[in-house]
Symmetry: C2
Subunit: 244 residues, 2 copies
């Protein structure tokens, strides 16, 4: 599992990103349990996938619900950084990325609560990732509702995180989304995603965006990812380290 975690620390820069140093302390004991993973990041890296004052009561409720489920180890909270450089130890590669001053798309908006507020949780035994998202007012498309591209972004990111749980280096080859019901700005939604099938280097995955009570299906997606490394190599790693 530690190796899976390590892979997630490296892999997630592809999809997620960071926030609040003070609040992080509340959860840092959980991260410290994973010493291998901790070695892979700078001490200065800040996980932004933790509560901040912009989080609504509903957002806190959902976050706490999933944090509770991490206690028996069946679920794991995935950290979320602002840039790829946060995922690296000190060194020339880290400096190179820092100089580029790029940011991961989901963490591109500075002001707390204006863009994507979220936390992701992995259930390795099911190759499943659930994300709790609060949709900020800077993500508008139709009046009062989230942009179709913002919904595509949260789906691609969360589905991608579930795929990374089985293979480290992947790219999205296809993403198909059915939009069922618009997502109101300010609302909290659950994005439930999983790996469905693996065929050589093709990884088929899918996901849904639902209201927190599960009653409203906002959007559903199917996705195809392609593994950049030969399957044989990363399969070996998965086989030897996937059980929690």
């Amino acid at each position: 599992m530690l190796r899976n975690w390590a892979r997630l620390w490296w892999g997630l820069p592809y999809f997620v990103t960071p926030r609040n140093g003070a609040l992080l302390q509340r959860f840092s004991h959980k991260l410290q349990e994973h010493s291998t993973a901790s070695m892979l990041i700078s001490e200065k890296s800040i996980d932004w996938g933790v509560p901040n004052p912009s989080w609504s009561q509903e957002m806190m409720l959902q976050f706490n619900r999933y944090m509770e489920m991490t206690k028996d180890g069946s679920w794991q909270k995935l950290p979320s950084y602002q840039s790829l450089s946060d995922h690296l130890r000190e060194g020339s590669r880290k400096e190179e990325l820092q100089n580029r001053k790029s940011r991961l798309f989901l963490r591109s908006i500075d002001e707390e609560g204006k863009g994507f507020e979220y936390a992701m949780f992995l259930r390795p035994s099911e190759k499943r990732v659930v994300a709790v998202f609060q949709i900020g007012p800077y993500l508008e498309g139709p009046s009062g509702f989230a942009h179709g591209g913002a919904i595509a972004t949260i789906l691609d990111s969360t589905v991608g995180a579930s795929v990374i749980s089985v293979s480290r280096r992947v790219v999205t080859a296809n993403l198909s989304i059915n939009y069922k019901s618009p997502v109101e700005l300010g609302s909290v939604v659950l994005v439930d995603t999983r790996v469905d099938k693996i065929e050589d280097r093709k990884i088929f995955a899918s996901g849904e965006v639902r209201s927190v009570d599960g009653q409203t299906l906002h959007a559903e997606a199917t996705s195809l990812f392609i593994e950049l490394l030969p399957r044989s190599l990363s399969q070996k790693e998965t086989d030897s380290s996937s059980s929690p």
Copy 2:
């Protein structure tokens, strides 16, 4: 055509958004030609779809190329605002939207050049919209490349703009994207989109993201939009005003 323009001013808030007051002056004569459209927005609204110092030489080259093609009226530059309230005249509805302090997703990042820099051009006779996009460093997914969600966002927005040229109130029902080749951060791409077919309230549209030399296909999308108003009503408007 004026009515089409008017519809675009109202419709585009769904997909696009603003920037530089000083530079706007250089192109404002074009906007003034469309007096009906001008009436529909506040004098304070700023079109952000115009050059700013972050635009690369390539971005300027492509922008000027399409601006040149607007001279004979076959192409029109579409304005791009930061929020829906920019699209309204003074009044209670405008105030209501201003108080909400929301922003259109494509204009959610404050710093020039960090997010989406773009301008859109409509060719009404072909129900086609071409957008020139410069991909900023805050849109990162895989190291050095745009996030799949950012590509989905520029496709949904530009395809949506072409759909709005035939029907005012639409929502995305499906968006399917094939990712062919990653888009490097900092690069300029052309997003070429069009309405393919209309069946009652269903509008089928598609688009491509290509390198400026046309040689590299980065992504292609098909999309289904649903018209919120009865087709009969908006078809009448189109029939009476679609010729340039």
